[in-house]
């Protein structure tokens, strides 16, 4: 019995940090409507800065002072980020805000390694809370008791701040209607900045307080952000009470889940989240969001199929690409195969994002599932390569069918957070279920059969499948199903009013995208001869997002160009620098701020302007109003 009580208290102690970070995220979202993906990065920075300060200043005052100063320092960094970056993108579509803050996270990860080194850092114990308390023969660290008390205290302080101060009233008003608050003459810029500062302060404080419990490392940002997303999805984005209750719930589920499913404890949290999403899709304490009237796009250029000339040009490009093995060496061909595989992966996400308006932040899960499907089939079942290539992606299909069902119940930022959380769950299963997946060591020796083994043959195979995938997805875009999907994206209200079952259409699209991603993963397993948990990692999901964005999220097939350019650049970059995440993150931020239409989108806009200016003089539609209907 005592053991369970201790386990319960450990859970409560973990909840404190989680609550601090989640409440910060919720407060920022409430006012600015930005889901700050970089919140985990600020949490991590808080821990690193606090580590340095507490090592430098001795004594109890040095420790506690160091913790608070660290949180303040990071809050100032947050203010700078808000003023330099976020102020430029408050009016951008959600997707761009998510991506920009994600780019920031990537940059911080490399910067942290650059400043503090790659090794885990073990910090000081907290003065005054070094010992443990004996509880019927079980030890409870006294620092845990301190954290357990701290959670409700912070909750109370926040409540007072929002209920009893003028600033708090303004923040609550802005949460309900920011335009009205601006119309009343409140300086919105500084309100946003101060809210962001408070949110970042809470995240950094959450990180700093972890020092006595856990080693500081450069992967803690993603671990916490996934948990925080789960917390706000359960508790309801924008609700501080919700963040508290859900933080306790998730931490307890983690604490006891380890006892029930020692290997894959995260499953329990997933199950609870799934139940909450079905019963209350907006979270336990959240409010249902009014459906956003804004369309996801920046332009209203209608899509059209390729003209005959454009088709011929595309075929010509394909023929040139197919001729590559006659002039290039093995290394170039291997790179070419990898690019072709990433074209498949990118177009699958593009289909979901551009046509369906569903920005998945965990698309790598289905890529990885396809890769593992192939590896398991060929190593364990010993199936021939063709059978593996056909059946392996079905694991991606299965994963997309299960996760997609829940994900499409939500939209916008909730959808992004949920897909990311799902991808992390799949990743941890691959990582922890060592007996089947090989864990960190992966599955080795997945080589193609003789007919596809040579670099040129494998290149042709990848190129052929990539071309096929692009063509089939394009056909679907212009099919009635593609239009139903776009209709649901453009106006769910009108879609429902003309008999379209939007959720089922989106679910089907999710499954299609997941299966095609699984196909890419299947080829990738054969290209590399092995699969690892990283094949479903977050950085791969981000790669896919960047490829889509670089190509142009509003185009029909921009992802093809985006994938080719990005992958070529990426392979070159990795060979040139150790700080690829820093460069990549900076690249993402730059695209979002300066270049939101992407390569193909910019070209299209240019062509459209030219066509328009040459034809406007003769167009009767633009100059004369139509006669009345009578």
């Amino acid at each position: 019995m005592a053991f369970y009580v201790v386990q319960f208290l450990t859970g409560l102690a973990s909840a404190a940090s989680l609550f601090l970070v989640a409440s910060g995220l919720s407060i920022i979202f409430g006012v600015t409507r930005i889901v700050n993906f970089a919140h985990g990065a600020f949490y991590m920075l808080g821990a690193y800065v606090a580590f340095t300060l507490t090592e430098r200043f001795s004594g109890a005052f040095g420790f506690w002072g160091g913790i608070v100063i660290a949180a303040l320092v990071v809050a100032v960094i947050g203010v700078l980020v808000e003023m330099v970056l976020l102020r430029r993108i408050y009016h951008s579509p959600e997707l761009f805000q998510l991506l920009a803050t994600f780019g920031l996270t990537l940059m911080v990860e490399d910067l942290v390694v650059l400043i503090w080194g790659p090794d885990d850092l073990v910090g000081r114990r907290a003065p005054g809370f070094k010992g443990a308390i004996d509880f019927f023969g079980q030890n409870i660290p006294s620092y845990d008791l301190f954290l357990i008390a701290l959670g409700p205290v912070v909750l109370g302080v926040l409540w007072l701040l929002f209920q009893r101060t003028r600033w708090g009233v303004l923040v609550r008003a802005a949460t309900q209607d920011r335009d009205m608050v601006a119309a009343l003459g409140v300086n919105q810029k500084w309100l946003f900045t101060s809210v962001f500062a408070l949110g970042v302060f809470l995240a950094a404080l959450g990180g700093a307080l972890q020092i006595p419990r856990d080693a500081v490392n450069h992967a803690m940002d993603l671990r916490v952000i996934v948990e925080v997303f789960v917390v706000v999805v359960i508790g309801g984005l924008g609700s501080i009470i919700g963040a508290f209750v859900a933080a306790v719930l998730v931490s307890e589920l983690n604490a006891f889940g380890i006892l029930i499913f020692p290997k894959i404890s995260i499953i329990l949290v997933f199950l609870v989240m799934a139940v909450v999403l079905i019963v209350r899709p907006w979270g336990l304490f959240g409010k249902p969001e009014a459906p956003a009237r804004r369309t996801p796009g920046l332009t209203v250029n209608p899509w059209r199929p390729l003209t005959t000339n454009e088709r011929l040009a595309a075929i010509a490009v394909l023929v040139v690409a197919a001729a590559l093995p006659f002039v290039a060496g093995n290394y170039v061909l291997t790179v070419g195969s990898e690019i072709a595989i990433f074209v498949i992966f990118a177009v699958s996400l593009h289909f979901l994002m551009s046509v369906g308006g569903l920005a998945s932040f965990g698309h790598a899960a289905y890529f990885g599932l396809g890769a593992y499907g192939v590896a398991l089939l060929s190593k364990m079942a010993g199936l021939p390569m063709i059978a593996c290539l056909l059946l392996g992606p079905l694991l991606g299909l299965l994963g997309a069918a299960v996760f997609g069902f829940f994900a499409v119940q939500l939209s916008g930022v909730y959808f992004a957070m949920l897909t990311l959380a799902f991808a992390q769950i799949v990743w941890s299963i691959a990582f922890q279920w060592v007996s089947v997946t090989g864990g960190d060591n992966g599955i080795l020796g997945v080589w193609p059969e003789k007919w596809a083994a040579s670099p040129s043959h494998f290149y042709w195979l990848s190129l052929g499948i990539a071309a096929l995938a692009v063509v089939i997805l394009r056909i679907i875009v212009f099919s009635p199903f593609g239009f139903a999907l776009r209709a649901t994206r453009d106006s769910p209200l009108r879609g429902e009013a003309i008999g379209i079952n939007g959720k089922r259409i989106q679910w089907t699209a999710f499954v299609i995208a997941g299966t095609v991603a699984g196909l890419a993963g299947a080829l990738f397993a054969y290209l590399k001869g092995s699969v690892f948990p990283d094949n479903m990692g977050i950085s791969l999901s981000v790669d896919a997002l960047v490829m889509v964005l670089l190509g142009g999220v509003e185009t029909v097939s921009g992802a093809v160009v985006g994938a080719i350019v990005y992958k070529a650049l990426n392979i070159w970059l990795v060979s040139q620098t150790d700080l690829s995440k820093l460069v990549l993150g900076g690249f993402v931020v730059l695209i979002v701020v300066a270049f939101p239409k992407g390569i193909v989108g910019t070209l299209e806009a240019f062509m459209h302007r030219r066509r328009k200016s040459s034809s406007s003089a003769s167009s009767p539609l633009l100059t004369s109003r139509i006669e009345s209907a009578e």
Partner: protein, 263 residues
């Protein structure tokens, strides 16, 4: 009158939020080809009533039947498939598609071909879409992106979309809100003409009394969730209670109406 079948029948529709009775025991009928206006001051329960009819809100009690078939508590998409078209207070269309494609999607949905992933949508029901667009006077705009249209034209397009399932009943929530005076008259004349020609029943809410008194065959007046008057425009105009609560005193509507009738 008894020859014309009852299209929509509403019995004892009730909805409350907490302690507030938004709609209390509303009952009425609508016949094919009839144009019925639902009016009342703000907060009278018009929108709640309307949302229950189109499936966006579920009544606490009461029954709604369209041509004898129960639609109470059914989803909007199901109600649409039972032959009920609708337009929104703020027109809802698909801005990234062309005008023709907007109508084609609705037609494809009506033909239950939404999960076809192979055919080209451009070839689906092309002529039928053209006919519907001609009907609402948008034929010349067929290839324009919907997002570039003036608001009055978006409203016409929305009407064409709403007609795509050959509805028996058309629900229009403040059809002329946000439009210029001339456009209002045109849109309502168009709607009335189509309704008479195809004997579609129309139920609409509206704040513009010129539109209501010119086009409605019958008027329902809602106040604080209950029907306080029902009848022809003349009867409603003469009703002292309605004047006191909503219309106000004065000869404005009389004068306008006589003008309209003699013209």
């Amino acid at each position: 009158m008894s020859v014309v079948p009852t299209l929509l029948s509403v019995e004892g529709l009730t909805k409350s939020y907490g302690g507030v009775h938004a709609v209390r025991g509303v009952s009425f009928e609508l016949r094919a080809g009839e144009i019925l206006a639902l009016i009342g001051p703000n907060g009278a329960g018009k929108s709640t009533c309307f949302d229950m009819l189109n499936g966006q809100n579920i009544p606490d009690s009461g029954r709604i039947r369209v041509l004898g078939a129960e639609t109470t508590g059914k989803k909007p998409r199901v109600i649409w498939r039972m032959g009920v078209g609708r337009t929104f207070q703020i027109a809802a269309t698909f801005p990234t598609m062309t005008v023709r494609e907007n109508v084609q999607v609705a037609l494809v949905s009506h033909g239950a071909r939404l999960f076809n992933m192979w055919a080209s949508t451009a070839r689906q029901a092309r002529d039928e879409a053209g006919r519907l667009l001609d009907l609402v006077g948008m034929g010349a705009y067929a290839e324009r992106p919907c997002g570039e249209l003036a608001y009055g034209d978006v409203k016409r397009l929305e009407l064409a979309i709403a007609l795509a399932n050959q509805p028996k009943l058309l629900l229009m929530d403040e059809p002329t809100a946000g439009m210029a005076p001339r456009e209002r008259v045109e849109l309502m004349r168009l709607t009335a003409r189509i309704a008479r020609e195809q004997s579609i029943g129309v139920l609409f809410t509206e704040h513009d009394m010129d539109v209501v008194f010119e086009h409605a065959d019958r008027i329902l007046v809602l106040n604080r969730g209950t029907l306080i008057a029902e009848g022809s425009p003349e009867e409603v105009r003469g009703n002292a209670q309605v004047r006191a609560i909503y219309l106000g005193e004065g000869l404005l509507y009389d004068a306008r109406h006589r003008e309209g009738a003699s013209a």
